[in-house]
């Protein structure tokens, strides 16, 4: 038998697991803590109504964070998602007279198309993801406004109640957007854990050249993650339009940064190669919860935080969580 496991000997496996659990569940613990805090402090916070409100709004952030998670896992970034949400919501509204299927597929395809453009530019022209998606951030916003003919909202065909149900309806007493998000995360979770696509995305983020030499089709997988991110943003656009009864060409400003923050808070490194779909969900929900809690705190009437203070608090909170994450993550990295 070979006595080879030198580094492993250095690392105490129990400690490794503990730290990785901490970094994985630390955010979850924070989330739960905040929920308990809210439940104790605010009346109406734990109501079914607030829960449903929270999910309806944050499902969109959840979806784009999920796509962003896959992109970041390969070591890339997608700044275009916010604009794509807006563009797809307009597409969904424009297609709403042709039935719910056409509207949903059309909007998701439109998002996927932007993702495809991102992916092609990144893999074929070798332009860095940050720049590529910065350009499509502008371009998709322009398309959204063009398609909406500069109107602030493009109304959904009132006859298409199936489409509005996707945003406003309930399914088994759960808000439909929340259900869609959970399903997407379940599929995403399985895909990242057990599908070749997910594993290969992880491998590419961990070593692009090595992956290529081991026979992975790196270009296609990268293309895939951008298309996925675009399509999920498209789906978020459908929910947006359905929820508001109108396509929203000016919506989604800065959402890409929220999505990135959600992914990072969830413990996924921007350098790629590691990441977890579930932590991303927790991260995205945690950031959403801050808004919800701040609204309730203002309602208490003890302090009235201006929206300006809220920005400061959100920035500070992001810093706090990310620092905690990286502390835990780094110790883990040292051993691993």
């Amino acid at each position: 038998m070979l006595s080879t496991d030198r580094k492993a000997a250095r690392a105490n496996p129990g400690r490794t697991r503990l730290l990785s659990a901490l970094s994985q569940y630390g955010v979850l613990a924070t989330l739960i803590l905040l929920i308990v805090f809210g439940a104790l402090r605010y009346t109406g916070f734990m109501s079914e109504y607030n829960f449903s409100t929270f999910l309806r709004y944050n499902s969109m952030f959840g979806l784009i964070s999920l796509g962003m998670c896959f992109v970041i896992i390969t070591g890339g970034i997608d700044l275009s998602v916010g604009s794509v949400v807006a563009m797809s919501s307009v597409v969904a509204a424009l297609l709403s007279p042709y039935g719910v299927v056409v509207a949903v597929l059309g909007a998701v395809a439109a998002g996927g198309l932007v993702g495809l453009i991102n992916g092609l530019v990144i893999t074929r022209l070798n332009i860095q993801p940050f720049i590529t998606t910065l350009a499509t951030l502008l371009g998709a916003r322009g398309m959204a406004l063009l398609l909406a003919r500069n109107q602030s909202g493009v109304g959904i065909d009132p006859g298409n109640t199936a489409l509005t149900w996707l945003g406003q309806g309930d399914f088994l007493r759960l808000p439909v957007p929340g259900v869609i998000m959970i399903i997407a995360f379940m599929i995403g979770g399985i895909a990242l854990r057990s599908s070749p696509f997910g594993r290969h995305a992880l491998a590419i983020g961990g070593g692009e050249d090595a992956s290529k030499l081991m026979g992975l089709n790196v270009g296609r997988i990268k293309l895939g993650v951008y298309v996925l991110s675009g399509a999920l943003a498209g789906l978020a656009g459908v929910i947006l339009a359905a929820q508001l009864g109108a396509g929203q060409p000016t919506e989604g400003l800065g959402w890409e940064l929220s999505a990135i923050a959600g992914v990072v808070v969830g413990g996924t490194l921007l350098t790629g190669g590691v990441g977890s779909v579930w932590s991303t969900l927790v991260g995205a929900m945690l950031l959403g919860l801050i808004f919800n809690i701040l609204n309730f705190e203002n309602g208490k009437g003890i302090i009235s935080l201006s929206p300006y203070w809220q920005s400061v608090i959100r920035g500070g909170f992001l810093l706090l969580v990310v620092v905690l994450q990286s502390r835990l993550g780094r110790q883990e990295g040292k051993v691993g």
């Binding site: 970034i77 530019v121 022209l125 070798n126 332009i127 860095q128 940050f130 720049i131 590529t132 910065l134 350009a135 499509t136 951030l137 502008l138 371009g139 916003r141 322009g142 398309m143 959204a144 406004l145 063009l146 500069n150 940064l257 990135i260 923050a261 990072v264 490194l269 921007l270 350098t271 201006s306 929206p307 300006y308 203070w309 809220q310 920005s311 400061v312 608090i313 959100r314 920035g315 500070g316 992001l318 810093l319 990310v322 620092v323 990286s326 780094r330």
Partner: protein, 285 residues
């Protein structure tokens, strides 16, 4: 000539900020907080020179209004640098914090209120025209020249490139990597502070909500179109200058030709991609 002046005045602040951004990107980082830091500097200046304490000492108030806000913005830039070097946050995330919180801070300072003023001694940096050339353009040219010289001729400039090109190698060669990084973020902050002052001076008003909006995108686009890779190790100072000018010319042309805003965005997107692709092709040859 008028057209030239218009274009140069409009692009001056972008170029000033893009100089700092070029250095940050040369170290392999990025600074998303520039717009917010502009806002902070922009709201502080009028608070100083409009302060009744300086009613009898207006020159002092104005002098301080030029210096303190820039230093504060530089200090926030330094904070970015500390996030990156001490807390080991990735630059995008590290500067995202102040991107979000920075504008909030500026808004909190004034409670979002717009401050209007007419203080010729101060607005000179935005409206003055020595020898018929807008003052801000002169300032911009000086800053570009200094940045160019710093990159080409100084130890600091070489260190920036070395850190961006191979951080480990730079560290093993005795280059104080953390210090270099701290400084580039601080410089980026300082230059953002300067740009913030110019913006409020041109408008004779300071609006925490508006000063520096979207500046990070403009500056990064200018750097990228100018041929500096986002992966670091290169700093094309003149490239950034031309990158910003190209973007400005496109914007001017589209506006002047009456292309609607929405379509202009799509064109701008295409041009960024094409410009960067051409830059890379040229590099490969």
């Amino acid at each position: 000539m008028q057209t030239l002046n218009v274009n140069l005045t409009q692009v001056a602040t972008i170029i000033i900020v893009a100089m700092g951004m070029t250095l940050v990107i040369a170290t392999g980082g990025v600074d998303l907080s520039v717009g917010s830091l502009m806002a902070i500097s922009g709201v502080l200046a009028p608070l100083i020179f409009l302060n009744p304490a300086f009613a009898n000492l207006q020159w002092l108030g104005i002098l301080l209004a030029f210096i303190l806000p820039v230093l504060v913005a530089g200090a926030f830039g330094l904070l970015n640098g500390l996030f990156v070097t001490r807390l080991k946050l990735q630059p995008i995330v590290a500067t995202l914090v102040l991107y979000i919180a920075g504008r909030g801070i500026a808004q909190v300072i004034t409670n979002g209120q717009l401050q209007s003023f007419s203080t010729p001694a101060f607005t000179y940096i935005g409206l003055g025209r020595p020898f018929g050339i807008p003052f801000q353009v002169i300032l911009m040219l000086i800053i570009v020249a200094v940045t160019y010289w710093v990159v080409k001729r100084t130890v600091f400039g070489r260190s920036v490139l070395a850190v961006g090109g191979n951080e480990t190698a730079a560290g093993l060669s005795g280059i104080p990597v953390s210090k270099v990084k701290l400084w580039v973020y601080a410089i980026s902050g300082l230059l953002s502070g300067v740009a913030g002052l110019i913006v409020i001076a041109i408008n004779s008003s300071s609006d925490a909500n508006q000063v520096g909006q979207n500046m990070e995108l403009d500056a990064i686009a200018a750097v990228a179109v100018g041929g500096t890779l986002l992966s670091g190790g290169k700093a094309q100072v003149l490239g950034t200058l031309f990158g910003a000018l190209i973007i400005q010319l496109i914007r001017f042309t589209l506006l002047a030709k009456g292309v609607p805003d929405a379509a202009a965005l799509v064109v701008k997107a295409a041009i960024i991609v094409v410009a960067v692709a051409l830059q890379q092709r040229r590099r490969r040859e």
